[in-house]
Subunit: 447 residues, 2 copies
């Protein structure tokens, strides 16, 4: 799926045209989010690892070249030239897990023009999706205010690969486990899950089902109590715990109804039965606003299972990302389409005490500014060996935790977030004015 | 990604528990959509082909079994039993491309209980996602009212595999092309695309870029005219067409601004220049409501490029699907959780002149009723050979076209759709009452 042919046709047209014309000068493309959805106060950069893996492996296979020639009208010269291409450029990027805002490059590619163009579609695809999910999941973690949050999204993500990504990205921002066994194995996460309603229904009675499960999995027993009648189910769980003398860890799960009221009732019943150690787990169509409601109401909930709404980022299932040519052959370039104006030149972003500043890549940093973009590829090779999948998650999680601690309160707000806006440095603003003037005067080559 | 370990942990717990206890009686699970999103008047069934491919290949690999034993606490007996499992059940399903409504099973699995349980997560994942996308894309096709609609979603779908699925599912409902080259090749679709803004910017002037592209791709020239100034861009396109004596097919593409007004202006300028054959193509954040606006306003648009909002089904990025145990060991079962009541027993859906009727699978069909569910797998083997990927798309498209022609007007409405509601047959209603009574009387085994 992620070979070189996994791209939009126009990328191939442009690359072939550039190759025919010897337009292989160095270009810089900048990948950024134009503006945040109203319900987001920040983004969490993610998707860099799969993007780099794609760039490292980038090449057209023989059968793909034959397809381009025989079915899509490219010439033998075109496909010879495409076949010889590898990604030989530099990549600067914000490491996964870091917090970013609108207008800040998440990634910049500096490469011969055809290469930079051909990789656009997949870079956008990966960074957009992973960043969308990590940012949504981070809001769930913030809303849970220290309680456990578990990824339950697999069954309704946008495909099986998406489920893998969601398990990973939600772990980066602090989810404590995932139901997805394959992803847990791949990324070194804790796998979580106990039983479904169908399990209860397959037994002659709820009590029989509870007994059977506790016997089979004494160390992972969380009783799903709402199959027939929730209060009755809690009572049955209490009875079975007593009857079998079960030891912690133990829990009950509420998956429907008024989770606030039911969790109060469950907690009271468990405490009255001398079972203060039995945890209350809730799930069922939750998002960060629901979690925030429950937490603010003081509902005695120990852990949240969060599924579909997080896994597809239901309220904002994409980001307004762009991948824009910023410089070609030593000349800054920009686009003036309404609402889509881009800023020219290779850039850097500095995090300072007064907020983020976007600068020309090589200008002097603002006082005390910490650069967000790191060179992760040079001449087509990673600047550091590819990390193990699980190590990449651990490192990204540490970055997110550090950035979360330093994030403005307004940006973290679950209900009415206010996103910080990065400032453009004086020199970058001047460059933009120059490039714009040159474009409008009809001679972009002078910019 | 789609091996047997691509599942929720609880499926493995339940399957292992069933296997230990010899609970391998035949179970029927029913996969359906509980209710439609407010903005949907119908659904288009999709995702069956990948689901069947998964079932055919279902098995645990040796390293996966070792992981379950060594890391997740399953016993050697558990993993021996899991390792011996293959999918040996029957599958009844609505063929891809058919129109369906809430409460109608999209798919039913009848298999030994552990098998039916283990495949839940991936079946739900695939049918939910593909049906979500096909249903959204169908609305775009309806809104376009006969004009071409092209899939431009790759860069912002939820992963690269999702892009592949979107190209396929949008073709099923009548999209005429996709920008996704790999998917077009795989599914036998037309690949479409010309140039991006970056191409224009890489040349000294817009006219130079237009000339270069037309020389290189005389048979696929659509000029992107909004990089600097749209009206100026249209004028430049007209000049270059005249200067180079270009022949059709030719087009211009508008990607920003007021697409209605600009398309009028473009059409007028092109007609005045004696170029009535140059097509007007529009794109830029469109969904079916935008398309409907433009079509109703009579905007002279020949084709729509539809991207992100279709590709992630932005207004309804998931469906409220469920996979419910309906029968076990000859006994109908049901769940009574608030708002999540299920209907017991193996079912069939008949399409009749008076709407759809959900019945017990084996009861006599209503007069003139056409059954929607077809047996696609028997004893773990497909009832017909797996179709070529491209043939499956062609067959599904034919089904959709036929069903679209017979769909109630209310259901097709883009702005305020009203979805038909399937009726339960008298016998199915009676069965539900019996099962419910048995559950509430505390003896589900009597149902």
């Amino acid at each position: 799926m992620t070979g070189a042919l996994a791209t939009d046709l126009y990328e191939l047209n442009m690359a072939a045209s550039y190759l025919r014309r010897g337009m292989t000068g160095v270009a810089t493309f900048s990948l950024f989010v134009r503006r945040l959805p109203a319900s987001r106060g920040f983004l969490v950069a993610a998707g860099l690892e799969p993007a780099l893996a794609f760039l490292e492996a980038f090449r057209f296979e023989t059968d793909e070249l034959a397809h381009l020639r025989d079915e899509l009208g490219f010439t033998q010269d075109d496909t010879d030239a495409l076949g010889a291409l590898r990604f030989t450029g530099d990549v600067w990027a914000v490491p996964e897990g870091r917090v970013v805002y609108a207008g800040e490059p998440l990634l910049e590619v500096t490469a011969p023009l055809p290469e930079g163009q051909l990789v656009e579609t997949l870079l956008l695809n990966q960074l957009t999706f992973h960043t969308t999910v990590a940012s949504k999941a981070a809001r769930c973690v913030i809303a849970a205010a220290g309680r456990d949050v578990v990824d339950f999204s697999f069954r309704r993500t946008q495909g099986a690969d998406a489920a893998d990504a969601v398990a990973r990205d939600s772990a980066v921002v602090g989810f404590t486990a995932t139901s997805n066994v394959a992803a847990a194995r791949r990324y070194g996460l804790r796998a979580a899950g106990t039983m479904a309603h169908s399990y209860i229904e397959a037994f002659p009675s709820e009590a029989d089902a509870f007994r059977a499960f506790a016997e089979d999995f004494p160390h992972r027993t969380t009783f799903l109590v709402d199959t027939y009648d929730t209060v009755g189910g809690i009572r049955t769980a209490i009875d079975v715990i007593g009857e079998l003398g079960l030891e912690p860890p133990l829990g009950i799960r509420l998956d429907s109804g008024d989770l606030g009221a039911l969790s109060e009732q469950a907690r009271a019943m468990l405490d009255d039965a001398g079972l203060p150690h039995v945890r209350v787990f809730v799930s069922g169509g939750l998002d960060e606003v629901d979690i925030d409601d429950l937490v603010r109401a003081g509902a005695p909930i120990d852990a949240f299972g969060v599924g579909t709404r997080m896994g597809v980022s239901a309220d904002a299932p994409f980001l307004d990302t762009a991948y824009k040519l910023a410089e070609y052959d030593g000349r800054p370039v920009m686009k003036l389409s309404p609402d889509k104006i881009s800023v020219p030149g290779a850039k850097q972003v500095y995090r300072t005490g007064e907020g983020d500043v976007v600068t020309i890549r090589d200008e002097a940093p603002p006082d005390g500014g910490e650069p967000l973009l790191v060179r992760v590829m040079k001449n087509g090779a990673r600047t550091a060996p590819a990390p193990e999948a699980r190590d990449a998650v651990v490192a990204a999680r540490a970055r997110f935790e550090a950035d979360l601690a330093g994030m403005p309160e307004d940006a973290r707000d679950v209900r009415a977030p206010r996103a910080p806006v990065a400032r453009l440095s004086d020199r970058l603003q001047a460059l933009a004015v120059e490039a714009r003037t040159a474009v409008l005067s009809g001679d972009p080559s002078e910019a």
